[in-house]
Assembly symmetry: C2
Homo-oligomer: 319 residues x 2
């Protein structure tokens, strides 16, 4: 019901997603009348759950947690708690989704707090970056937990001995904050991790490591600065092709190439951030996600359920 | 003498710089014999100052400060302290340059610590981002000082009432850390500043504001993540044009356009970070700067001397 674009995008994405993946059924949670009108026609694989309230993007997470038990977000997460659904995907208020998921789904024993994790495109595939904003104040122990969760996720997606790094402003052991230096000691001592040392932000996209661990403030800045500069460059390229009739002709000739390039750099194909550490799969779609981006977030949820990512994280912590 | 590429780049840049700007004389500080050999031929506008030591990229800043008083870096900064030179440009060890500059040149009264500041390309011109790594632990008062210094710099370069923002992970007043919220109050209360609220990292390149203030860890991550993603995209574009003979032909047709685009995105044209708050102009060139990038750093130094940037910062603090 929420997100910057409302339920229309979610519903068209849901239809496309069901078409692509015949092994999935969906619940659509929200104002049932509005959802059914938008859907146009019944689909036996879509179930409706009515919810009278909506958590808006401006709602304070704690207020939402305390007072919006009839919201579509709350009802969706209840389906996970009650074992009726395997995963929840939302484009709504991140803080509220995190707070309610933590309350209803809970983290596994030994996991202090969930972390937001996203796969970043790198030359050799993807690198998992966490935390992206759930935890601003972190202890060395919490960063260690993020490393274990990220490593379990990378293993689920095929990395044999995932290389794990801590994001810092230099690679020398004396660089950074006390918290980072202490976290480095914990990671070095943990034989279940393949720790690769500190990494600087210019190497996030180099593919040197599989998992990059940081606090939520640093991860958020790294992710958003990257989005900003990618947008800036895309605008420059468009402007460059638009400067002269001959260049616009060249743009036509280059069209297939530009399209391929755009597809590779398209943020939509990286949409869908995981809340790692929870006992079920909860995926946050970007608030401004379009249909394809939302489909990708749904596909991430499906894949993490099939690969049993929550169970693998639990397993990593029980050793 | 230092930098990743040694004195060769600095010297060829010096010659090009003198050719471009007839109003400048240069001191070259270092191993005089080596420098003169590299220079090949005398230039009456180049003076040599001999130094027997070099501070390396691996030297610990405090050790360099205590024990390398005969280094080229120390001798260069002595020229500023003794009023023999107006500005110092170095591609060497950032931490050592900062520590020695702080010791020899000093900050203006009322300025606690210098900040590293760089101009970032944005759609409407440039935005000044500070601090970029000199200060990891900051107080609200120190962020306030960075705002005043950045604002004075932007005014020197023509902004009438520079819009100043604090980098945060959201724009709402409750977002971020206590330090940021307290800094926001200080900036709101300061009538000499045109404070524009919190800004997120994806808007660094949007040109919404003239100055963005943050601690050195956050600034470093934002800057380096941006460099990393720009490099990643450049590699993707090259690979795309290289995929097929027809595409390589297209690349030839697009060559003038790609060249123009590259010139606009070229990090060399943004090389030269300022150490704001010092009583003289000290500019840090990127360790891996090539000739053109080094020339740009020298040009930044010249411009800041002509625009009397240190004096303007002093003035901003005396009101």
């Amino acid at each position: 019901m929420s997100g910057d674009l409302g339920p229309r995008v979610a519903i068209s994405a849901a239809q496309k997603f069901l078409h692509l993946y015949p092994d999935v059924d969906l619940f659509l949670v929200g104002d049932q009348e509005q959802l059914q009108q938008t859907l146009q026609g019944a689909n036996p694989r879509i179930n409706f759950i009515h919810a009278t309230e909506v958590i808006t993007m401006d709602d304070d997470p704690l207020t939402a947690l305390r007072h919006k038990k009839n919201s579509s977000m709350w009802k969706s997460l209840e389906l996970l708690r009650d074992e009726s659904a395997d995963a929840c995907v939302s484009a709504g208020n991140t803080g509220a989704l995190l707070a309610i998921a933590k309350y209803l789904i809970k983290t596994f024993p030994g996991i202090e707090r969930p972390a937001i994790c996203k796969s970043m495109p790198v030359s050799s595939g993807v690198t998992y970056l966490l935390d992206l904003g759930a935890n601003i104040d972190v202890s060395p122990e919490l960063l260690h937990q993020f490393a274990l969760m990220g490593s379990a996720l990378a293993k689920a997606f095929g990395a044999d001995q995932p290389r794990v790094s801590l994001l810092n402003i230099g690679t020398e052991a004396y660089k950074g904050t006390d918290i980072l230096r202490q976290a480095q000691e914990l990671l070095q001592q943990d034989a279940s991790l393949n720790y690769a040392g500190f990494i600087e932000a210019n190497c996030i996209f180099s593919g040197e490591v599989d998992v990059i661990v940081c606090d939520g403030f640093h991860g958020n800045i790294a992710l958003k600065a990257s989005e900003g500069v990618a947008q800036f460059i895309a605008n420059k390229i468009s402007a460059e092709f638009d400067r002269h009739p001959i260049k616009r002709l060249l743009a036509l000739l280059c069209w297939p190439m530009l399209k391929h390039l755009r597809a590779q750099l398209n943020p939509a194909q990286y949409n869908g951030a995981s809340f790692l550490g929870l006992q079920k799969t909860v995926i946050k779609s970007h608030g401004s996600a379009d249909e394809n981006a939302f489909v990708h977030a749904l596909a991430v949820a499906r894949e993490q359920v099939l690969l049993r990512v929550p169970e693998r994280i639990h397993h990593q912590f029980s050793h």
